[in-house]
Point group: C2
Chain length 199, copies 2
């Protein structure tokens, strides 16, 4: 969701930027919420870590995306945010943000719309996670990304990142992509995937 749609201009004045190196942590689960962030450049992964130490990718945010929107209504962050590349984020402080939204019903409505959109995205992700087959999960991912614009999907980040986002091991993703290419369903060209057949 685009930030310009709903962040009141008043809050821009108190926003502050921060640079993160690859691997650096922006915030941790259980940490006190200070506000929501916009990713200006780079990439930030939202993850939870289960008992076994496995990371569960909840979201991957790129430039223009916001993270921790729900933190406005929560005292603590409910997942970890980690930069996977050198990243610049902009912090919109919670206090001012809430005050501005309350004074500006239009902004509040836009914010609600953004949250509603996020809810739909998350449901789509749950649907994805229910697909057992690695091949079908990759197909599902590609189907969401091609849209009607064409048949080319530009991968952001590494294949390991993709595997994490899909909730699969990187080996499974490699094999799935290799099989899809062998069967003539897709063609790979570096970080670019061309979908030939829609199954």
């Amino acid at each position: 969701m685009s930030v310009k749609d709903w962040i009141p201009t008043a809050v821009h004045a108190v926003a502050s930027d921060r640079n993160l190196k690859a691997g650096e942590t922006l915030f941790r689960q259980g940490g006190k919420t200070v506000g929501l962030y916009e990713v200006l450049s780079g990439r930030v992964r939202l993850v939870r870590v289960d008992r076994e130490g496995h990371e569960v990718a909840l979201h991957v945010a790129g430039p223009g995306d916001t993270i921790a929107e729900a933190s406005l209504f929560s005292a603590q962050y409910h997942c970890d945010a980690i930069a996977t590349a050198n990243t610049t984020v902009r912090l919109y402080p919670k206090r001012e943000m809430l005050a501005a939204l309350e004074e500006n019903p239009k902004a509040m409505k836009a914010f609600s719309g953004a949250l509603a959109h996020l809810v739909m995205d998350l449901r789509t992700r749950i649907e994805q996670r229910n697909i057992r087959s690695a091949r079908d999960r990759v197909r599902h991912f590609l189907g969401l990304r091609v849209g009607t614009d064409g048949r080319i999907v530009e991968l952001q980040g590494t294949l390991k990142d993709l595997a994490a986002e899909l909730g699969l091991t990187h080996e499974s993703v490699y094999r799935a992509l290799a099989e899809l290419e062998r069967s003539g369903e897709i063609r790979r060209n570096g970080g670019e995937i061309t979908v030939l057949k829609l199954v």
Copy 2:
């Protein structure tokens, strides 16, 4: 989320109730949105159906829960809603709901809060779906339900419902529960589960 917190009283006047028999469909994915619903009694399952015809449980709503909150910002429902028992729902029409929220910033804020809470719930569900092991997934579910109040989890609905909610086959759930009981981790008593050891 509780309805009373954020549904403006003005909208109550135009709300209408509807009875559904078990198995009946409330709305379908792609259908035109008419508003959001509150479940007064019974149970409603939100599901998506993938290509293979498998149902993916996105949510199970009981009395007091609302469904299709995000539909206020969307022209079409993005999943199916099916009653799993004889159910009564209350419809809050979209048009009036939106108008009331725009006139009442406090209600809008509460609505945003409800959406934010939903976002957190969905992320927890994604985390759950990432757990491969049936036993661990059941553990995760129990851990969320016990809270600090005690160690007793009251199951709503059948075990098949639970299996659907967990995204597992009912056989796997049976086996997982049997193993947990054999190992002394839980004790079952009808639809009631007592957690003895927290792992």
